[in-house]
């Protein structure tokens, strides 16, 4: 019973509870703008809108006017040994001021070095050196943007032999020391646990509940020798199970379904978001949660 009471309100104090949303993808723009479907909120890829004008900017303004919206970046490269790209950050900051998203997130990874961008979310060695480096840079980013950010755990296909800190502990420590929040990608966690043979529940137990501000769900592809985070399938049953475990630990957390490749009709993605709502509410013993967020700036 104590757990139920605790779970009635979102635990994290950093962001509002937006409910259950989906990733905004260009292929769905016509349906969204035509039908204004019922969905709690959208997440937009920041870089897709860092352009001067045209359709992308018009669409995002119209959607922002009707729905809570958050920005999810892929180019921060917070773990790179290159200097932070303040030109990029200035564009993000200007866009954030214009759009006033509920929050801004990016990934715990690096995307390139030596000025070259590999356009991928590459894994970090989990060492004390990396920890110091990332914490310092997250703090610099938050100072520059004037707001707390969310950092997401990435999927990975390799581990470094010289890593000394378990991934969950590493993410938790970054969040605590840098005073940022966590975007927990449950699919990525499952993929990594399978690819690297660790216990995903121990990972969840290492995370600070009060900092879990958002959850991602997605579908992976089974390549036979490894799981590939492809975002081209519905959420698989073991990921739903892990989501239940996350909700048991963290209470209601704003949850978003990502689908990028082999994109189905909008209704299919929306149905996945509704399923996330059902799973969360069943897990929390029938409590339903009203979104507390309007998407207003925090």
């Amino acid at each position: 019973m104590a757990r139920l009471e605790r779970a009635r309100v979102p635990m994290n104090a950093f962001v509002p509870f937006l409910g259950y949303g989906i990733g905004l993808r260009p292929k769905h723009y016509p349906e969204i703008l035509d039908q204004w479907p019922h969905v709690d909120w959208f997440e937009a890829i920041t870089e897709n809108f860092l352009v001067a004008g045209g359709r992308p900017r018009r669409v995002i303004r119209e959607i922002r006017a009707r729905y809570p919206l958050v920005l999810h970046g892929v180019s921060l490269s917070v773990g790179s040994s290159d200097p932070l790209d303040f030109d990029y950050l200035a564009r993000v900051r200007d866009f954030v001021r214009e759009l006033e998203p509920a929050w801004v997130s990016d990934h715990l990874c690096w995307t390139g070095v030596g000025g070259i961008n590999l356009h991928d979310l590459l894994p970090l060695p989990f060492t004390e050196e990396t920890l110091r480096h990332v914490v310092e840079r997250v703090q610099a980013v938050q100072d520059f943007l004037g707001r707390r950010i969310l950092l997401e755990n990435v999927s990975s296909y390799l581990e470094f032999a010289h890593s000394t800190i378990p991934e969950g502990e590493f993410l938790a420590t970054v969040a605590k020391r840098a005073d940022c929040a966590i975007l927990l990608d449950v699919n990525n966690l499952y993929v990594n646990a399978q690819n690297h043979g660790f216990d995903p529940l121990a990972y969840l137990d290492a995370l600070p509940p009060e900092r879990i501000a958002q959850i991602h769900l997605a579908g992976y592809a089974d390549r036979g020798t490894f799981l590939h985070d492809t975002h081209d399938h519905p959420v698989w049953p073991p990921v739903w199970n892990l989501y239940r475990e996350a909700v048991r630990r963290f209470g209601p957390v704003s949850t978003l379904v990502e689908w990028d490749a082999q994109l189905p009709p909008l209704a299919t993605v929306l149905a996945e978001a509704e399923r996330a709502r059902q799973v969360a509410e069943e897990t929390l013993h029938g409590w339903s949660f009203t979104a507390t967020g309007t998407g207003a700036p925090q």
Binding site: G54, W110, G114, G115, I116, L124, T127
Partner: protein, 277 residues
């Protein structure tokens, strides 16, 4: 013993991920120091060995960028074929790896690269075609601008217009080409077979009207006015030198109507006294 530094790890992985032949074949080309660093860098275990694990990233790197370029240069791809396009992208990334935060910019050097690529021996219009397609990319998300309606335009008195600066839509691009590549672009849009092009000096404008990008050929004189003449007075003077005053006025009047209707021209603005000096 301490492991490699974060920078050492990232420089090594970046080199291997970007190697066109894949991770395994790239290892012998590493320096001895790098080879030593590679040994034991990635944890063994599971069904994949360290090379296969890094190859997952190497493959994703190439295919992600190849697919982005295929989206931006569909007519180039259709012209040379999917296999040749694959090789073209491989060559391109060796010279122009992405240095932008955005995949949107990854093709910015393709026009320049295509002009000197061996494929121009078979398709000599490749550089022009790539330049046209990149202009379409740029026009798509160029800055917005308020549009001048036909009514607003008609309200200007002729003498008021003469010395005002013509304000073109920010998406406008004017291309001077050696081949009529707009024909290939337009046929591709209509799903028609692509032509073999013969050399022909061609001027093309690319611009966005509302949210649709347009491509149109034009005369050298019209291109000169769009590129080089800031005011109607300047443009009239330039045309009069070739055609005489009366024909120049007629030409300019026709173009103005077309520019306003197609929204290539989005306004006029006063020239400051300092600029006039």
């Amino acid at each position: 013993m301490a492991g490699p530094s974060l920078q050492q790890v990232q420089e090594l992985l970046s080199k291997l991920i970007g190697a066109p032949e894949g991770v395994g074949p790239a290892l012998p080309a590493l320096s001895l120091e790098e080879q030593a660093r590679w040994q034991g860098l990635i944890r063994h275990g599971g069904a994949l060995d360290p090379i296969e694990r890094l190859d997952v990233y190497a493959n994703m790197y190439f295919f992600r960028i190849r697919d982005a370029l295929a989206d931006d240069f569909p007519v180039v791809r259709a012209t040379i074929g999917a296999d040749a396009f694959h090789n073209f992208v491989t060559d391109y990334l060796l010279v122009h790896p992405s240095r932008s935060f955005s995949l949107r910019d990854v093709g910015s050097a393709v026009p320049q690269f295509a002009r000197s690529h061996p494929y121009t021996g078979t398709w000599p219009w490749l550089g022009d075609l790539a330049a046209l397609e990149w202009s379409v990319v740029e026009a798509f998300d160029a800055a917005d601008a308020p549009m001048l309606s036909a009514e607003q335009w008609a309200a200007y008195a002729a003498e008021e217009l003469a010395n005002r600066r013509l304000v073109w839509h920010p998406s406008l691009r004017v291309l001077a080409c050696e081949y009529p590549v707009h024909q290939a672009w337009q046929r591709f849009q209509r799903d028609e077979p692509l032509p073999t092009l013969a050399p022909e000096e061609t001027w093309i404008r690319v611009w966005r009207n509302q949210e649709r990008v347009f491509v149109a050929a034009m005369t050298r004189d019209e291109a000169t006015v769009l590129r080089s003449h800031e005011t109607l007075a300047d443009a009239g003077e330039f045309l009069a030198a070739t055609y005489g005053q009366s024909r120049a006025t007629e030409l300019l009047a026709n173009w103005l109507v077309a520019w306003v209707q197609s929204r290539v021209l989005c306004g006029v603005e006063p020239i400051t006294r300092r600029e006039q000096r």
